[in-house]
Every structure is written in C-alpha cells, then in structure tokens.
C-alpha cells in the first residue's frame, strides 16, 4: 500500500484546473519533447476518452502543446502555449477520437524531429498528475517517468543487453527497473531502463556505440 508523505498533500505546484487533465497531459507532451531530443518540428495529437470529451474545457490540448515545447506542468506559459508554438514554428494538429482505450485519459502523440524522423507514443494520465507511457513506436511499454529513464532502440540479438549493462556498471549507475520488448524475434526491440541516478549524455552516447545492433538511445 502506498505510503503518503508531506508533499503528496502540500503540492505539487501546478497549472490548473486538473491534475489528471492538465498537469498529467503536460507531462505526456513533455515526454514526447524529450523523445524528440528537445526539438519538435511537427506533432499530431489524438485525444481519447475523457481527454477528448472534457479536454478542451480542462486545457488538455494546451497542456500537451506546452509539454511539446518543453515546459513543465507548473510553467505559467502553459495557458498561451498555442501562440508560443506558432511563434516557435512548432506545428501541432489535434484530433479527437471516440475509440475506446484501456484508460479514459489517453493521448497518442506523434512527433517529427528536426532530422525528419518520427516517433509515436501512447500514454495515459492516470491520476494526480502521474502518467503511464504505454506504447512507443507501436511497441508496448509501461513506465511512469518517475525515474531517470533510458530508452534504447535496438535489434533483438544476443549480447545487446550485456553491452548496455556493461556501460551502466562501469559508470556505477544502478538499474531500478528494466524491461525489454521486441516486435518479433531478431527484429526491432526496445529496452526501457529506469535508473536511480541520471544518465549523462556522454554515457548515453557511449551506450549508443557499445554495440552495432543499437541504433538509438533516448534519455527521458
């Protein structure tokens, strides 16, 4: 059973009106921004369930837009994020779907990076500002971004995990949680590694080159 502490009750600071529909939504957009290496050129957002029906009134769309610009949930620019996105040349398109998803507060965000590559994520705002990322590029994942998180895209071949863990061990970085997901045998796969301490960009770069079957490392 979850143990509650002082700042669960006195906080967080956030932009209203709703921790799930506004703060959580901003965090989902922010994860997409980080996946896009802090530079979103274009984004397509689909809102489902309660996000689609009451999202406009809760500012869910503006919160996701703010996240896509890199703003955290307590940033007061959130209210004006549409204008700011336009100013910064970030094109965001919203769609509303009545398709049923596992969680009522779900968003699918497809971001196009500066280099033209696209990444698609599906995530839900599960209450109190907490989020769960459920899919990345069609692969099922499950993490909350409560810890520093590494996403490693690679081919499903022997030795890849060993190479990654080798680098982390060498840098004395403790793995709190880890999951490996593959589309099918020997095909594209993804490692989600949550660590106790943050992973510097130089370490991420070292992981990227540690094995030829790794093609991308994202720090969240």
């Amino acid at each position: 059973m979850k143990q509650f502490h002082l700042f669960d009750l006195i906080g967080p600071q956030m932009i209203g009106p709703s921790s799930s529909h506004t703060a959580g939504a901003a965090r989902l957009g922010n994860v997409a921004w980080r996946l896009a290496e802090h530079q979103v050129r274009k984004a397509y957002v689909t809102l489902y369930g309660s996000f689609a029906t009451t999202g406009a009134g809760h500012g869910t769309d503006r919160a996701i837009a703010a996240g896509l610009l890199g703003y955290p949930p307590e940033d007061e620019r959130l209210r004006d994020s549409f204008a700011l996105a336009k100013e910064q040349g970030c094109e965001i398109t919203f769609q509303y779907s009545d398709e049923k998803r596992r969680h009522p507060n779900t968003a699918k965000i497809t971001v196009e990076r500066k280099d033209g590559a696209t990444i698609e994520l599906v995530g839900a705002s599960i209450g109190g500002g907490s989020i769960e990322i459920q899919e990345i590029n069609g692969m099922e994942v499950s993490f909350g971004c409560d810890y520093p998180t590494l996403l490693i895209f690679h081919y499903d071949r022997p030795g890849v995990i060993h190479s990654v863990i080798g680098v982390l061990a060498e840098k004395n970085i403790n793995v709190a949680f880890m999951r490996v997901i593959r589309s099918s045998r020997h095909q594209r796969a993804c490692m989600v590694i949550e660590t106790d301490t943050s992973v510097e960009s130089a370490v991420a770069a070292q992981i990227r080159t540690a094995n030829p079957d790794i093609w991308e490392v994202c720090r969240l």
Binding site: Q3, Q13, M14, I15, G16, P17, T22, S50, G57, H58
Partner: protein, 292 residues
C-alpha cells in the same frame, strides 16, 4: 522509524511522548523518510506558501481577466461585499480568498494542490487570511502547512483524497480538515484539539458528492471551496471553544472512506449525477465540448 504515523492516535502518541507539536512530528517524519534536511524541507514549504499567496492575490486582483468556462469574478464580488457580511468581514474575506484560488485554478493559473487542484483554495485561504489577522510570519504559516500535511497524510492513508475515489467529501472535506487542524495549532490549540477540529470538519460534509458540470473543475467546485473554508473556520472555533467530536478522528476518517466506497459512481467525478445531471448542467456541458 521513530516519527512515522498511520493514524491520529499514533500521531498524538508521538506528540505526547516527545512533547512536540503536530507540525514538529510531521517535520521529523518527513526528514526521517526522505533523508532531507530540515532547512531543505522548510524551503520547499516556503516556496509553496509563496505560490499560494500569489494565487490569492491574482484571483482577487481587478486586473485579472482570465476566466474559466463557467467561472470567474465571484471572488471579487464576495470581497467587495465583506463589510456587509452576516458572517463577519474576516470570515467573508477568507471565503473570498478560497474562491479566488479556485477561480485561478479554473482559468489555468498557477496553484498548489492541497490536497488536490479542485480543493486548492481552502488551505491557503484559511492559513493566510487568518494568519494575517494573528500577525503570523511566514515561518509560522509553514508550520501550519506541516500540521495540515499530517492530517492529510492520515486521511489519504486510511480513506481517500480524490473526488474520483470518494466524492467531494474526500477533496474539499480533507482540505477543510487539514485547514481546521492547522489553524487550531496556529491558535495555540493542543494537538488533540486540532484533531477534534479536523474530525468535525470531515463530519460536516460527510457524503458530499462530486458532481462537476461538464466534468470541469468549476461548478460547483468554486463554491464548494467557499463552504470548505467556512467549514474549516467553524470547526476550528468549535474545537477551540472546548467542543469535542463525539466520534474520534480516526473513526470519522474511516467512515468517510467507507461512504466514499459505497457512493454510486455517478457521484464520483463522472459528471453523470447531481448538478451535472440537471437540465441546465447538461445544456452547459454540451456547449463546452471542444470549446474553450
């Protein structure tokens, strides 16, 4: 772990044995579990307090033109009426402050969830407005936040604090209980007196449903923050007057949690019951879909 508590009874026991206030137990408990220093924790509380103050000022500023979909402007109306208020001007000003924060929240302004965004007006209004009358400094107000946090932790642990889990009683009821206990300690009340105040605040709104029109945190949420602040002041005054809750705090908390479990889903933030289901509520909801 010497300072961890799960119930009001455990909290009082630690407070009695150590001869310390509820706020001091909460502070030591937080230091113990997080490993953070006292200064570090107090600094974060101070930062939250400043955001709380700003949210009241923003909501009561005539220059603030930000509005929610259905709300805005009522906090100022209440403040202007305070001189003529039947409940006394200081109570009216506190109520206006609670509505101000709730309106700021509804208009996508910055607030501190306490315990949630929907009930975020009650604790700052009670603590800051009544603290001002007692000439309390910011450090004393941070003590109030600690006392409020202790009561909130016990309720979250043994019942619930989200409208979706337990209705409005869980949100504004918890906020009122937190505020009532905080104000009691600020007014030199004993720890057991603070828990009587918290118990009475919860009792005063037991069974209150969460029925937001259109699913938005506006109607009736702004006015529920108003009554929540009044509830906190009344409960604190009753406790300071020596009135006790016949049912002990811990049992009131568990009762509230059970009522929340028994509550029909239509009354738990789904916008399918209560005011949300009225003809006017439904009409307003249709108007606000896909629009802001």
């Amino acid at each position: 772990m010497k300072y961890q508590f799960q119930s009001g009874q455990e909290l009082l026991q630690i407070s009695n044995e150590e001869g310390i206030s509820i706020s001091e137990v909460m502070l030591r408990s937080e230091m113990e579990h997080s490993g953070r220093s006292k200064e570090d924790i107090l600094e974060e509380l101070m930062d939250n307090l400043q955001v709380m103050k700003r949210s009241i000022e923003t909501g009561l500023s005539p220059e603030n033109n930000n509005r929610g979909v259905f709300s805005g402007g009522d906090a100022i109306r209440m403040l202007r009426f305070a001189q003529n208020s039947h409940m006394g001007s200081s109570m009216a000003k506190t109520v206006a402050a609670a509505m101000a924060v709730a309106e700021v929240n509804a208009s996508m302004g910055k607030i501190v969830a306490a315990p949630t965004a929907g009930a975020s007006g009650i604790l700052p209004a009670v603590l800051i407005c009544c603290g001002r009358e007692q000439q309390a400094d910011d450090c004393t107000l941070c003590r109030g936040l600690l006392t409020a946090g202790a009561v909130g932790c016990i309720i979250a642990q043994n019942a619930c604090i989200a409208g979706a889990s337990g209705g409005c009683q869980a949100e504004t009821g918890t906020a009122a209980a937190m505020a009532a206990a905080a104000l009691t300690e600020l007014s030199q009340g004993q720890p057991h007196t603070a828990l009587h105040a918290a118990a009475m605040a919860l009792k005063n709104c037991m069974g209150l449903i969460c029925d937001p029109v259109g699913g938005l945190v506006e109607c009736p949420c702004v006015k529920r923050n108003a009554i929540g602040a009044a509830n906190a002041l009344l409960s604190c005054d009753m406790a300071l007057a020596g009135i006790e809750s016949l049912i002990p705090f811990d049992e009131v908390v568990c009762a509230m949690g059970r009522v929340g479990q028994q509550m029909h889903p239509d009354f738990k933030e789904t916008a399918r019951g209560g005011l949300a289901a009225t003809p006017t509520g439904q009409r307003l909801a249709e108007q606000c879909v896909y629009r802001r």
